[in-house]
């Protein structure tokens, strides 16, 4: 039935735009399908963004009406609040440690699994599992115990629990992110498998060794996937919350060493009820993430290779 009718379809489609009514009906239908999204995008995304920009110029505690204070919140944040800068530095340190380590591990494991004949599916699933479990409070509590005084890490290295030492606590949090390398690994693996085998064969014919093939074929062909993972993981890392909360009982300690940005934002907004100040922090976070993404996109032109563009 369907197959016999198919050839008639293209003319019908070409004729449709000339008739006004069906097209308008279809447009109406589109808005019906879109309506939940439109409502959500305006009421729960656009409007809140505007409101939080407004609130960032006010003093607001949820109970009394917002009180306009101009740039006061921003001035206080940048010049008078050492804990704010502490949270910025903590978050940046965390991003710089966790993201490269996680992606490097993901890439190495993906390369190891790529040509594996037996057990590839098993390893892929097993390495992926922590990505699903790692965001949970259960695992955050395990992490706290493993890195606490008397925990496994203390027994192994004998330098006391990391989470009680300001220089080491953030590393414990970062390692929880590294532990979840499975998600980018799976994406890397899928990317590696899309590289045509002919490219490697051609490179081998030209006398390229394993390393040369990696540098000249794998790296450029994989660069879009690497870029995607880099952007995604960086954005996520800027918003880390649960492990820092669990490791420090919500305080960001010791000595503010795990006071990541979102934890301080939560503390200002929902513990201290400085909603205006927290809104200002949220907007700075938004701008910083936007700026970092823009920089990544800009630099990507020099190192990300898109095969389809190269053909043209």
């Amino acid at each position: 039935m369907t197959t016999t009718q198919t050839p008639a379809a293209p003319p019908a489609r070409a004729a449709a735009p000339t008739k006004g009514r069906p097209k308008r009906q279809r447009e109406g239908a589109a808005w019906v399908f879109l309506s939940p999204w439109v409502l959500g995008a305006t009421v729960l995304t656009l409007l809140p963004m505007v409101v939080s920009l407004y609130l960032s110029f006010t003093d607001y505690d949820l109970f009394n009406p917002p009180h306009w204070v101009g740039l006061r919140n921003y001035v206080q944040m940048f010049t008078e609040d050492p804990r704010y800068w502490r949270s910025v530095m903590t978050t940046l340190t965390y991003v710089v440690i966790a993201v490269p380590l996680q992606l490097a591990l993901a890439l190495v494991v993906a390369l190891a699994l790529k040509n594996m004949r037996h057990g590839k599916g098993f390893y892929r699933s097993a390495f992926y599992a922590p990505s699903l479990l790692g965001a949970s409070m259960s695992i955050a509590l395990v992490w706290r115990a493993l890195f606490n005084d008397g925990g496994t890490v203390d027994h192994l290295f004998g330098n006391g629990g990391w989470i009680n030492r300001p220089g080491w606590s953030l590393l414990a949090v970062a390692l929880l992110t590294v532990w979840q390398f499975g998600a980018p690994m799976v994406i890397f693996l899928a990317g590696l498998q899309q590289i045509p085998a002919e490219l490697y064969e051609a490179a081998a014919v030209d006398g390229a060794g394993k390393w040369r093939q990696f540098v000249s074929v794998t790296v450029p062909m994989l660069s879009p996937v690497l870029f995607f993972n880099l952007v995604l993981q960086t954005i996520q890392a800027f918003q880390v919350f649960t492990p820092a909360f669990a490791v420090s009982a919500g305080k960001g300690g010791p000595a503010d060493s795990t006071l990541v940005y979102t934890l301080y934002l939560y503390d200002r907004g929902f513990v201290a009820s400085h909603m205006g100040y927290a809104s200002a922090m949220a907007w700075v976070l938004l701008l910083v993430i936007g700026a970092v993404t823009a920089v990544l996109f800009r630099t990507s032109r020099s190192w990300v290779f898109y095969a389809s563009e190269g053909d043209r």
Partner: protein, 289 residues
């Protein structure tokens, strides 16, 4: 390892490179799985063994940890906590599957004014940090008297606010042959019937991926639940576990980790049942972008 290598030798030479890769992977796997094994072991350890010894295995199995865990926290039974968690996760799954597939169909197949800019906006909201909208959303729900209810956790999912899933389903729908809908249209189907009768059944893999990821992410969610829920009897498993965060007494360790195991169980079961969907879904989301 050596035995498998020697049986292979009769047919072809031992590939030492491959053996090394396998050994490396197994070693990495042991390190990776250690925290999970530790969790399981600790949930069955007597209180005095939790910190004192490095031994992974308990001297005897302390099932009373689970008994204590089942009594719950703050006089709220664990069944209540489980039910609350399930209610929120179930609501979120339903909301995301319905609203995201509706929006995705419009973006993937229908023509309407401003489609390009709206699609770009939708993609941009994937990158948007949750915190930029968090406080006004909280104020809105506060004004509506909905703080300390489940509405702030479920309602947004019915409004397709998780654009990642809209995008995932759009990508999937774009891969479906257009001829099917053309045929349906010639047979007299409008956009609604062709969506429900033709497109939706074919989109099932993407919908399952959406459902599973929504379930797991909502189940694990902590931040939103932390700010919206106050009453202990409205708590989820995650929030109940949180009350252990402040407790430093080590006697509570066994029951705390018993409860942690219970909280992870649904995810582990989902993973075992749907690992193909999860792994493939993750892989394709990264590539088609």
């Amino acid at each position: 390892m050596t035995t498998t290598a020697s049986t292979a030798v009769s047919r072809k030479p031992i590939r030492w490179g491959r053996v090394a890769v396998h050994l490396g992977c197994l070693a990495a796997l042991l390190v990776m799985l250690y925290p999970l094994a530790w969790l399981l072991a600790t949930s069955l350890k007597p209180a005095n063994e939790v910190i004192a010894s490095l031994d992974l295995l308990p001297s005897h199995l302390e099932w009373s940890n689970y008994k204590t865990a089942f009594e719950g926290v703050n006089d709220v039974s664990i069944w209540r906590l489980l039910g609350n968690s399930l209610l929120i996760a179930g609501g979120a799954v339903l909301g995301n599957v319905i609203s995201c597939s509706l929006a995705a169909y419009a973006f993937a197949r229908l023509r309407f004014r401003m489609r390009g800019p709206l699609f770009a906006f939708m993609i941009a909201t994937i990158m948007l940090p949750h915190h930029a909208v968090l406080i006004p959303q909280y104020i809105i729900f506060n004004k509506l008297g909905l703080v300390n209810t489940y509405w702030p956790l479920i309602l947004p999912k019915f409004l397709a606010t998780e654009a990642f899933f809209v995008f995932l389903i759009v990508q999937f729908m774009r891969g479906l042959p257009r001829e099917l809908e053309e045929a349906a249209r010639i047979d007299g189907c409008g956009p609604f019937r062709s969506f429900f009768k033709v497109i939706l059944p074919l989109t099932r893999p993407a919908l399952i991926t959406t459902a599973i990821f929504t379930f797991i992410w909502t189940w694990n969610d902590f931040f939103t639940q932390l700010i919206y829920l106050f009453d202990p009897d409205k708590f989820t498993l995650t929030l109940a576990l949180r009350s252990f965060v402040d407790a430093s007494s080590q006697s509570a360790f066994g029951p705390m980790f018993a409860m942690s195991v219970i909280a992870l169980l649904p995810i582990v079961l989902f993973f075992l049942a749907f690992q193909r969907f999860l792994v493939e879904g993750m892989a394709s989301s990264g590539l088609k972008g």
